[in-house]
């Protein structure tokens, strides 16, 4: 596999400027001391492995719960917007130019399995049901599906008339959910074959949907809007957040504890399964795009300014 071999070679020559200069322009990310402080747009963790992705094809890997991160070279410089870790070290990352990357070794090396810059459509999130079946959600209603482990990708129809940005895809309680632009929410009960449009409590964009372990679902988006449903999205209750910042990331931390974060340093905590939240504004007022649990009970925040850390609530 020539691509993979070249990636390995580049990884071996990590700090050699000559190797970086020799890499073909625009095809391969470059190792940068500040990658860990660059714009990161999504993160995933599983079995002690964490992967974060972001601008300029930055992929960072952590094996200590998000404290230390190491950048790896990938065969793209496109902005990466979503990452998913399956078991056994299989991982996926998606981004602009319809870029889809696959790793089979826990994020150490990556191969480019799909790319279509000429389509001018970014992918915004990725989710896999198993090693073979997965979805990449993107702008203008684009939902790509694979049933062969990523070798081929076919567009799926979510809603015939809609071309809204599909901002996030998440699974819970046997269903799949899509959070989309302009107040749209979709659900699939047959592993993504068919989708139904859910009644929306709001006409602004949703940037995330978070199924919780107790079966309820949170949906959040523009201007601090947060809604909770106990009936798989059939009806929604508005939850006051105390912030007008756009909410972008959520995480079920177990035992009823839920964290939601957003732009401008917004960070919300719930201790009652998402029924009520208390808000605070992080002093750096930077955007958070993904949350990981930190070992001290706090949070690892990924977003503007790279990897940050938030103390657990008092």
């Amino acid at each position: 596999m020539p691509v993979r071999g070249a990636a390995l070679l580049a990884a071996l020559l990590v700090f050699s400027a000559a190797a970086l200069a020799a890499a073909p322009d625009g095809e391969r990310s470059t190792l940068a001391p500040l990658a860990v402080r660059s714009l990161l747009l999504d993160a995933a963790d599983r079995d002690g492995l964490a992967i974060a992705v972001g601008e300029r094809g930055h992929v960072l890997v952590s094996r200590d719960g998000g404290t230390a991160w190491e950048q790896v070279v990938v065969p793209t410089r496109a902005q990466l917007t979503g990452v998913w870790i399956h078991e056994g070290g299989l991982a996926w990352a998606v981004g602009h130019d319809e870029t889809i990357l696959r790793s089979r070794d826990g994020g150490a090396t990556w191969e480019l399995v799909h790319s279509a810059p000429e389509e001018e459509r970014p992918l915004l999130d990725v989710w896999f049901a198993d090693a073979e079946t997965g979805f990449a959600a993107g702008a203008y209603g684009l939902l790509l599906a694979t049933r062969d482990g990523g070798s081929t990708w076919e567009p799926e129809v979510v809603a015939e008339e809609d071309d809204f940005h599909l901002n996030q895809i998440a699974a819970g309680g046997g269903s799949l959910y899509l959070a989309a632009e302009a107040g749209h929410l979709y659900r699939s009960d047959d592993a993504g074959r068919t989708w139904t449009t859910l009644p929306s409590p709001y006409d602004g964009s949703f940037f995330g949907v978070l199924p919780l372990s107790d079966g309820s679902i949170l949906a959040y988006g523009l201007r601090g809007n947060l809604f909770r449903s106990e009936d798989r999205g059939a009806s929604w209750a508005e939850i006051p957040t105390g912030t007008e910042a756009t909410l972008t990331a959520g995480r079920d931390l177990g035992a009823g504890r839920v964290a939601i974060a957003g732009l401008a340093g917004a960070l919300l905590w719930s201790a009652d399964g998402g029924r009520t939240f208390s808000a605070r504004e992080l002093p750096d007022r930077k955007a958070t795009m993904a949350l990981l649990p930190a070992r001290d009970g706090g949070l690892v925040l990924l977003g503007e300014g790279g990897v940050r850390h938030a103390e657990p609530p008092r």
Binding site: A17, A21, D25, G26, T30, A32, P33, L34, S38, L39, L41, E55, R56, Q79, T81, H96, D97, P117, E120, P122, L124, H165, N167, E181, Y202, D203, G204, S205, F207, L222, R223, E244, T246, T248, L263, A264, R285, A287, M289, G303, E304
Partner: protein
């Protein structure tokens, strides 16, 4: 011998037409006074730039388009708590108005939270909402202030117009090139003065008791104003130096008439120099303003030599006329050569292609050339008129008797054993100087504006502002040149974006600002503020949407979008930081492979420093080679002896080396102001050696034992050399009190060089002579 025949021909010419000589000097001086009165103060900062350097060619080329961002920042810092008090907002409103009405301020671009051009935008469900940070119906109530606080956050001006910890707020103003009310080029010094009068004195708690704010101000105009204020104090230093020198000359010469002649002729030399400056079309700037000091000090020191020689004749019982003629004859050649070597030494500095240094070279060499006329011709002529009191020889006798034991003791330096010790100590000092001198760094080593002292008001203000706001004062602009409409080409913008990111990763770069970065931010803005859309769109019309609202006043693009500066904010302006960044820029330019983009160095204050540092680094060895080459050549021609040349030049080399060690110890960097100092020091310092060696050789040739020859030398010239060293050192020592850092540095170094070159000539020269010449004169010994 021809030389002697020429000397006596000149002597007769001068002394037979004394009234004509005096008349010539009187008329010329009157003319020069008139000419000097036309002298203009010239703060032309382009003179400080190495314009021949490729970076500076870029600088000059893009100055018109991007030179406009001449900004002044006025920060009001809350003395207690944060800015959210009615008192603070009242002060900020009034101060904004004051800044608005300052002369030369571009009123449409004045920014503070109070100005209507500072707006907040927020993404709402159906698009983007915007408003003024301070709403029209603002009341300084807790609710009103809370609203403003939230608007400030939405406007994204924290760090720029509001302190990161809300402890202060900035009023930002841009200055126009031309004052619209007068139609003339804007006078920065006047703007600086207005800022002090209208803003600092009306709002700062130091001047207004009970004021809730401290005022901090930075900006290029303020720097110019503060330097001009500092430069004015030079007049005081000149007066102090004049009075001190006058007292010394009086003590030395035991005669007020002689003191007046010495000082008067030196002042005439200064006047001629200033007059010639105007005739040549030069102005005076804060750096070359120091040259008249040098001329005055060199003039006095040579006048003292003349007075000494004259005194020696009177001492031996000659009358005024004979004494004057003999002194003239005796000093014409060594004095002429000493001054010629000064002139040549100064002229070698011309080879450095920085205008201000070249001007120093020209003005200093002109001044020294003038001293040849005033001191070697006018002084002896005037001396021939002086009626010495009857007891004058007695006074000199008494002093000679007084000094004799000292000189007898001191002449032991030429004895074998002390000479050996001295030569060994000198060798050790050579090693030390070499070791320490290598640590001298090029460029500026400290924070703040290097022209001003670290504790100056400006630099204190600058430190306060940079610590509270996200504002960098050290900027290196790399100019990305491409084709017209380059900013809507995805590949071109990506190359520039890559460049910016690579530079951000270079140690010493704190942050970068560039058009692709702004375009990415705006693209996210068009997509509901989502960071996932912070990209350069491939679609040209989408990319156009991202750059079309960025005004050229940001300094990030020109009107046809063919030039896009990348601003690199650096952590400091140390030479090694600059060199590292410059290196990275050059490496990227060599390897990025996009034929449509060229990254050219550099503008911004750090860009200027980068060019200057490179020019200084390139010149530092040539300047020494030239000045020492000139001095060596002169010594060889004069004395026709390699050993004499070694005796004179080695002490100079040692002291020069030690001055580098001193610079390293005192953390004075090698820069435009300190580069010529060693050359000046050597050029002037060689005089001591020439005077001493010439006299010494005349005794030595009479087959006197070496120590005796040296004792006699000291009795005749020792006082003069000692006195000269002290005079010169004192003249420049006053600069150490200058509020301008570079004047203080130059003063300190020149003081060291002048004093130590004197010591070197008195101590090391005879010790070397002992080892090179042997005890008594050998017939073929030279």
């Amino acid at each position: 011998m021809t030389r002697e025949r020429f000397t006596s021909w000149l002597e007769n010419l001068v002394f037979r037409h004394r009234p004509w000589v005096i008349a010539f000097f009187a008329v010329t001086t009157a003319f020069m006074v008139w000419s000097a009165s036309q002298l203009r103060v010239d703060a032309g900062f382009t003179k400080l730039l190495p314009l021949e350097h490729p970076y500076m060619k870029t600088f000059v080329q893009h100055q018109q388009e991007f030179g406009g961002a001449n900004r002044v920042l006025v920060a009001l810092m809350a003395r207690e708590g944060d800015i959210f008090t009615p008192e603070f907002f009242d002060a900020l409103k009034r101060a904004t108005d004051e800044v608005f009405f300052l002369p030369g301020v571009d009123r449409s671009r004045v920014q503070s939270v109070y100005t209507p051009n500072v707006r907040y935008t927020e993404v709402v469900e159906d698009g983007i909402a915007a408003g003024n940070v301070i709403p029209d119906d603002f009341e300084p109530t807790p609710e009103g202030l809370e609203q403003v606080r939230s608007n400030i956050l939405k406007a994204g001006i924290v760090g720029r117009l509001v302190a990161n910890d809300f402890s202060g707020a900035i009023i930002s103003a841009e200055l126009l090139e031309v004052d619209p009310t007068t139609g003339e080029k804007l006078d920065f010094i006047a703007v600086s003065r207005e800022l002090e009068e209208k803003v600092r004195r009306q709002f700062d708690a130091e001047f207004v008791p009970g004021s809730p704010v401290d005022v901090r101000m930075i900006g290029f105009a303020k720097v110019v104003g503060d330097i001009a204020d500092g430069a004015k104090r030079v007049v005081i230093f000149f007066l102090v130096a004049f009075v001190l020198t006058g007292m010394l000359v009086f003590v030395y010469s035991h005669s007020h008439k002689l003191a007046i002649i010495a000082l008067g002729c030196s002042v005439i030399a200064v006047v001629w120099q200033l007059g010639l400056l105007t005739l040549l079309g030069f102005g005076m700037d804060p750096m070359s303003i120091l040259v008249p000091f040098l001329i005055f000090a060199i003039g006095v020191s040579h006048a003292v030599q003349m007075i000494s020689a004259n005194g020696a004749e009177i001492f031996d019982g000659a009358d005024s006329m004979t004494a004057a003629r003999n002194s003239f004859r005796r000093l014409l050649v060594p004095g002429g050569i000493a001054l010629a070597s000064d002139t040549i030494g100064f002229l070698t500095i011309l080879l450095i292609e920085i205008r201000v240094i070249q001007e120093i070279a020209i003005t200093a060499s002109l001044g020294v050339a003038v001293i040849i006329l005033t001191n070697l011709i006018l002084i002896p002529v005037l001396l021939s008129y002086v009626k010495f009191p009857a007891d004058y020889p007695d006074r000199l006798h008494r002093r000679a008797a007084h000094m004799a034991p000292l000189w007898r003791w001191f002449s032991r330096v030429a004895a074998p054993r002390p000479a050996a010790v001295i030569v060994l100590v000198a060798a050790a000092l050579f090693a030390l100087g070499w070791w320490e001198g290598r640590k001298v760094q090029i460029g500026d080593l400290h924070k703040g504006v290097p022209e001003l002292r670290a504790e100056s008001r400006y630099n204190v203000d600058s430190a306060a502002i940079t610590s509270k706001f996200s504002i960098g004062v050290d900027i290196l602009n790399v100019i990305a040149e491409t084709r017209p409409e380059g900013c809507v080409d995805h590949a071109i913008m990506t190359t520039i974006d890559d460049f910016s990111w690579q530079m951000a990763n270079v140690e010493g770069v704190q942050s970068t600002i560039d058009l692709p970065g702004v375009a990415r931010q705006l693209n996210a803005g068009w997509n509901e503020g989502s960071p996932k859309w912070k990209v350069l769109a491939r679609n040209q019309s989408v990319l156009t949407q991202s750059v079309t609202y960025v005004p050229t006043s940001t300094g990030l693009l020109n009107s046809d979008c063919s030039v896009m500066p990348v601003m690199l904010f650096t952590a400091d302006h140390k030479a090694e930081t600059i060199a590292r960044i410059v290196d990275a820029v050059k490496r990227f330019e060599a390897g990025h492979g996009n034929p449509e983009v060229a990254f050219r160095l550099a503008t911004g204050n750090v860009g200027v420093m980068a060019a200057t540092n490179e020019a200084v680094a390139a010149a530092q060895f040539p300047i020494l080679a030239y000045v020492f080459g000139a001095v060596i050549l002169l010594c060889l021609v004069t004395f026709r002896s390699l050993r004499a040349t070694i005796c004179i030049v080695v002490p100079l080399a040692l002291v020069s080396l030690l001055s580098y060690a001193l610079m390293a110890w005192l953390e004075i960097g090698l820069k435009v102001s300190t580069l010529p100092v060693v050359a000046l020091g050597v050029g002037v310092g060689v005089d001591y050696g020439i005077y001493i060696y010439a006299r010494f050789r005349s005794f030595y040739r009479r087959k006197m034992p070496l120590v005796e020859a040296y004792r006699r030398t000291l009795e005749v010239t020792g006082n003069g050399v000692l006195f000269t060293g002290i005079t010169l050192a004192l003249g420049v020592a006053t600069w150490m009190f200058s509020p301008l850092k570079f004047q203080a540095d130059m003063g300190l170094l020149l003081c060291f060089l002048f004093a130590m070159n004197m010591v070197g000539a008195l101590v090391l020269l005879p010790a070397l002579a002992r080892w090179l010449l042997g005890d008594t004169h050998q017939v073929n010994g030279e």
